[in-house]
Symmetry: C2
Subunit: 243 residues, 2 copies
């Protein structure tokens, strides 16, 4: 019997393939199996980013998310469907690993920062050797695209989801000097109102498709409240010590 | 007269040279002048990380910090000395830029996230064209070294400095689900006490020299209160939704 393979979470960065690290390219190309998450009928952002780097002999293992629009996100059935999906994805990768093949699981951004990778990782880390290649986070791509210095001196930065209730958003924003708001979607009006109450709206910047084609940067004050795409963020920079 | 050069902030990542991005390597090698911050008598971490990539024909411009131990950090003279230093560093780089030479200013981690780069950037961005190459943040290097999934679902992450007063630390930690504490230095006892009050101590992990030689990862509960080196962080992972 061959020695079991290793599961490697490979962070690909914010979208521009040039923002992959040297280590990510090596880890990706060294693994016999390249796995990635994707929506049904789509190639998936991670796979697209890795396009120029996958070698002809490598096997590909797309992990296709179950329907995400038919069932509402807060429906318990959604959680069940996702749970079954991650369990199944983990077992599929365990098949390769058990055969002695290393698996590089591609991750948008950084593998351990809000990544789907983590759900597979926690299901396999006790059974197989693992490795993590950190990546440039989506938020770094966004504030670089905006050329926006984010945090100075002893600034505290909060990173939060725009899906939170308004009062929680305000409370958390007020605890920080700088903020990144993810998962904006249809929540822009509520997020804007919370940023106003926290005194951050005037300096906030909206960024979508950072480092990708379609990149757009504008002051939040000049952005309307229309729904935002998945790849979008709001940034409120800190104003700390500047010698 | 030649066209003025461009100032490029090049994020090098957490320390392991392999965690430089493809774009960082290109930007670094394309610039006639490579600048970096360093302490007197030392090469500096950024320059060390870039060691294998600087080409023989490139000019180097070390920007040497003024004394940082003779004057206490909270002494107004410290701020003045630093301010003069950044102004002087900016003028020095302006010299190259004015001659039409691009300058790659090397940055540990990510250029716009607590970076010295920002102090030079804000002094030159009105006068010269600029560019930013984002990098893998030190904290990503740390939680990857610890193989620690940091944030799940709608977790809020706070990144803060261990130099803050205890009450502020507690307040900010309580506003979040996951935390990164930087600037630990001699503040470990206070930080620990704040993490305990916020209910995060048991799951906190201490990491030093992540991705560098000397890397060390341990549960914070097993770490004593001795002073921590500059390259150290405390991580408290979130416990959010895990389908």
């Amino acid at each position: 019997m061959s020695r079991p393979g290793r599961l490697i979470g490979v962070g690909l960065g914010p979208g521009d393939p040039e923002l992959m690290t040297l280590k990510a390219v090596k880890a990706l190309q060294a693994a016999p199996v390249v796995a990635y998450f994707a929506k049904a009928g789509q190639k998936g952002r991670a796979r697209k980013t890795a396009d120029g780097f996958i070698l002809p002999h490598q096997k590909e293992a797309p992990l296709v998310y179950p329907m995400t629009t038919e069932i509402a996100f807060d429906d318990p059935r959604y959680r069940c469907a996702l749970s079954a999906f991650y369990a199944e994805a983990a077992e599929r990768l365990a098949g390769y690993l058990g055969e002695g093949e290393d698996v590089a699981l591609l991750c948008e951004g950084d593998p351990l920062f809000f990544g789907s990778f983590m759900h597979v990782f926690v299901r396999l880390e006790q059974r197989f050797r693992t490795g993590i290649v950190p990546g440039v986070a989506a938020m770094s791509g966004a504030w670089s695209a905006a050329a926006l210095p984010m945090t100075w001196g002893d600034d505290a930065l909060i990173v939060l989801a725009g899906t939170l209730p308004r009062e929680l958003l305000v409370e958390k924003l007020k605890a920080a000097d700088a903020a990144v708001v993810m998962k904006i979607g249809r929540n822009l009006e509520r997020v804007r109102s919370a940023l106003k109450e926290a005194g951050m709206h005037e300096r906030a910047v909206y960024v979508e498709y950072a480092t990708m084609s379609g990149q757009r940067v504008q002051r939040l004050a000049e952005r309307d409240d229309a729904a935002a795409p998945y790849f979008s963020l709001i940034l409120a920079p800190g104003q700390g010590r500047r010698p």
